[in-house]
Amino acid sequence: MDFELMKHAVFTVFEPQIMIYLVSGLLLGFFIGAVPGFNDTNILAMLLPFSVYLGPLKAVIFMMAVFGGSQAAGPIPAILMNMPGTPSAAAVCLDGYAMTRKGLAKKALGASLSASTMGGIFGAVVCIFLGPLVGQYALSFGPAEMFMLAIFGLSAVATLAGKNPLKGLLSAVFGLLVATIGMETVMGYTRSSFGFMELYDGVPLIPVLLGLFGFAELFDMVNEESIVERTAKDSSSCTLWDGIRESMKHKLVMFRSAVIGVIIGIIPGTGAAIASWISYGQAKQMSGHPEEFGKGSPEAIVAVSACNNAVTGGALIPTITLGIPGSGTTLVIMTALMINNIQPGPSMFNEFAGDAYTIFFSLLVGNVIMFFLGLAAFRMFSKTASIPTKILVPIIALFSLTGSFAFRELSFDFSLTLLFGLFGWLLKRYGYSAPAFLLSLILGRLAETNFIWAIKLEGMKLFIRPIVLALLVLTVATLLAPLLLRMMRRGEKPAA
C-alpha cells in the first residue's frame, strides 16, 4: 500500500474540476434514481462517447457519482409512492411506504439517506484498503457457489411470507416458475414465451416491479383521499433529522448490511437487487422487533439502504482490480477506462495505481457530499406525500408506465406493467406476498442456470466446497435463527 500515492489521490479528488464532475454526477444520479424506470446503465452508456473528451479520471469519477447518486435516490419514489425505480429499491417499499402512510415520510427518507451514506462510505473504505486483496476472492465463485448464494437469498422468503406463510411460499414458488420464461441458457431453447419475442430474454424486472408495487397500489389508493392515513401523525412534526438520528440507533444493522452489500457487490453477476433482499431478510431475522418489519420499521429501511449503496463500492473492486465487471453499470465504467487506454485488471495497481486510488477516494468523498446534497433533495421530494390522491394517482400511473417503457423501449412493457399491477393487487388483497414473488423472480434464473451448470460440470461433487458449505450453514442458520431466538427469549422470561 503506497501512502504517498494515497495522499496524492486525496489532493486530486479535491481539485475544483474533479469536484464539479463529482457534484454534477451526483445530481444526475439523484434525478435518475428518483424517476422510476430511468436506468443508470442506459444513461451512462449514452454518455460513454464523452469520456474520450473528459479523460479517464473525470469520466469514471462522474460515472461513479451517477451510480452512487442513483442508488441513494432509488428509495425516494419507493418510500413516497410505493413505486420502486430499481429492483434494489423494491425492498424499501415495504417499510418506507408504510411509514409514509403513517405520516413519517421525512423520517423514512432521513433514515434512508443516512444509511445510504454510511453504506457508501463503508464500501469506499473497503475499496481503498482491501480492494486488491478482496478482489481475488470474486474468482472463487463458480456455479455451485452462485447456486448456493441464490438459495441463501431465497431464504429471505421466510421473512417475506407475511401473515399466511403458505400463501407467501406459494407466491415465491410461483415466482420461480415465472422466472423460467424465455430462453434457457444451457441449450438455447425458448420456454413458454407465449409467442412474444419480448419475453425471449425472460420476464423483464422493471415493468414487473413497477406493476407489482407502483400500479397495484393505485387500485387501492384511488379509493382514498390521501396517501397518508387519516389516523396518521401530522407529517410536519417529523423531520429528516429524526430519521438520521433513528438510523444511528441501528449501527449494528447498518454495519452488517454494508458488509453484505460489499460482499455481494464483489461477486460478478449479482448486484444490489439480490443484496438488498438478503439484507432485509437478515435484519428481520436478527431484529428484536421482527413483527414491526413490513409495517414501517426504520430498522428495515436502514438495512436495505446501507446495503444498496455499499454494493457500489463492492462492485468497483472486481472491475478495477480484476477487470471483471459485475453489472451493466460497472461494465460501462470499465469501458470508459479502456477507451482512455487504461486496462483495468491486476496490473492496474502497478501501472495506474494513482488513478485507481483517486477513483476509490472519489467514492468516499462523493458519499459525504451526497449526504448534504441529499438533505436538500430529499426534503424537496418529501412534499409529494401531501398531494391529494385525485392528482397523484394519474401521475404515478403515468410515471409507472413511462418508466417501464424507458427500460427497453418496447410498447409491450406498458401492458406488462398493467398486467402485473392487477396481479399484484390481487396478491395483496388475498394475503399473498408480492415481495416473495419478486424475490423469486430475481433469483430464479440465477439459481437454475448455476444449478444446471454445476451438475453438468462436476456433478454433486461441486457442492462439497468450502464457500458452498459456508453458504449452506448461513442459509440453515438464517432459517433457524428466529426459532432459536424465540426459544432463548422464552427461556429468559420465567427468570425475569
Binding site: 416458475l177 384511488v222 385525485k390 401521475i395 390481487l426 388475498y430
Partner: protein
C-alpha cells in the same frame, strides 16, 4: 362450516391457468431443459393443493368488501390510454389521460389542466427531446408531438 370466500380462488386459478399454458407450450421441448421447471411445478402444485384445501375449509375467512368502481375506471382509462397512444402520440394521449383521470377523480379542473400540461411538457422534453426514447409520436403538418 365456515363460509368460503369465492374470491380466494382467483389467485390459485390464475396460477393453475399459467401452469397449464406454460406446460402446453413446452410440450415439444426436450425434457432435459425442463428439469428445473418440472421440479418447481411439482412443488407449486403441492402447495396449491394445500392452499385450496385451506380455502375450502374456510381457514382464510372472508375478505372485506370491494369498492370496485374507481379501480375499474382507472383500469379502463389506462387501457384506453395505451390503445390511443399509437394514434395520438405519447404527449397528446398522456395529457388527455392525466387531465381526464384527475377530472374524473374530482380534482379542480383548472389545477388538473395546469398539472397535466406542465407534466406532459416536462415528460415530452425529457423522454422525447433529450433522451430520444422511441415513444409513439403524433405527426401533424405543423409540428411533431
Amino acid at each position: 362450516m365456515k363460509k368460503v370466500d369465492r374470491g380466494e380462488f382467483i389467485v390459485p386459478g390464475i396460477m393453475a391457468t399459467f401452469i397449464a399454458a406454460y406446460h402446453w407450450q413446452v410440450l415439444s421441448i426436450p425434457s432435459e431443459v425442463l428439469l428445473w421447471p418440472y421440479l418447481v411445478t411439482g412443488i407449486l402444485l403441492a402447495m396449491m393443493a394445500a392452499t385450496v384445501v385451506r380455502i375450502l375449509k374456510g381457514a382464510y375467512g372472508t375478505t372485506k368488501e370491494w369498492s370496485l368502481k374507481k379501480p375499474a375506471a382507472l383500469l379502463l382509462v389506462t387501457v384506453i390510454y395505451l390503445a390511443a397512444m399509437p394514434f395520438l402520440g405519447y404527449a397528446a394521449s398522456s395529457f388527455l389521460f392525466l387531465f381526464g383521470t384527475q377530472a374524473y377523480l374530482g380534482a379542480n379542473k383548472k389545477i388538473a389542466f395546469f398539472v397535466s400540461l406542465v407534466l406532459t411538457a416536462l415528460l415530452h422534453l425529457v423522454m422525447i427531446r433529450i433522451i430520444d426514447l422511441d415513444l409513439p409520436r403524433l405527426v401533424t403538418p405543423f409540428l411533431t408531438l
